[in-house]
């Protein structure tokens, strides 16, 4: 079965600092990879996704992620964090099993931003 690991449960950065959130996946074929953000008490918003092609993916709100097959990673980055980026971030892999599509999520990383 596919799995997603987000090693960092909590991360705190200063406003204006760079950010990298780690994500490792386990998947036999070329994965469909996603990053979502969840503000407190809200649903999920898609930041970016990777299906194929260029391994560096640009998303909304200034985020980007790089797919590295050799490391089974899809880390999320932002060069300069804003206070409004404080939220929980989820990495996910799209699984197809028996003709059914599902999203398998990591446990999430909660980001706090200090002024």
């Amino acid at each position: 079965a596919q799995s997603v690991t987000q090693p960092d449960i909590h991360i705190t950065v200063s406003e204006g600092a760079s950010l990298e959130l780690r994500c490792n996946y386990s998947y036999g074929a070329t994965p469909y990879l996603f990053w979502y953000v969840q503000s407190p008490g809200q649903g999920l918003q898609l930041l970016l996704k990777y299906f194929s092609g260029d391994t560096l993916v640009q998303g909304i709100k200034g985020f980007e992620a790089e797919f590295k097959r050799s490391q089974s990673s899809f880390n999320l980055r932002k060069p300069s964090v804003h206070w409004s980026d404080a939220a929980e971030y989820f990495c996910a892999v799209g699984e197809v099993r028996g003709g059914y599509n599902k999203l398998i999520f990591g446990a999430g990383t909660r980001l706090a931003v200090h002024p």
């Binding site: 999920l44 989820f90 799209g94 059914y100 599902k102």
Partner: protein, 111 residues
């Protein structure tokens, strides 16, 4: 998301009471529909998914059930709630044009 409607937004229920959470979706017909749960301090766990009317697959054994009486309606139910059923429940859909879309969620507290 404007294409997924979940209600209620918050719910407080006593242990042993029944539950019915409703999700309706807009957009293309015959989408895949999903129920996820996020327990406090934990990630998102897939509970049920449906590929069509009356077709429900359960991912984990639990105190909950799901039904899809209409193409764009997905219902999460329980006959008797447990304390461990507390959490944030998200409905999601997948279709060929929009990919995955999530609702705004229902926060359930069982007391």
């Amino acid at each position: 998301s404007q294409t997924i409607h979940q209600w209620p937004a918050t719910l407080v229920q006593p242990v042993g009471s029944p539950l019915s959470l409703e999700c309706t979706v807009e957009g293309t017909s015959n989408p895949n529909l999903y129920w996820y749960r996020q327990a406090a301090g934990r990630g998102l766990q897939l509970l049920f998914y449906s590929v069509g009317i009356g077709q429900i697959s359960s991912e984990v054994p639990q105190n909950l059930s799901a039904s899809r009486p209409q193409d764009r309606q997905f219902i999460l139910s329980s006959k008797k709630l447990l304390l461990s059923d507390s959490g944030f429940y998200l409905c999601a859909k997948r279709d060929r044009t929009e990919g995955y879309t999530f609702g705004s969620g229902t926060r359930l507290t069982v007391v």
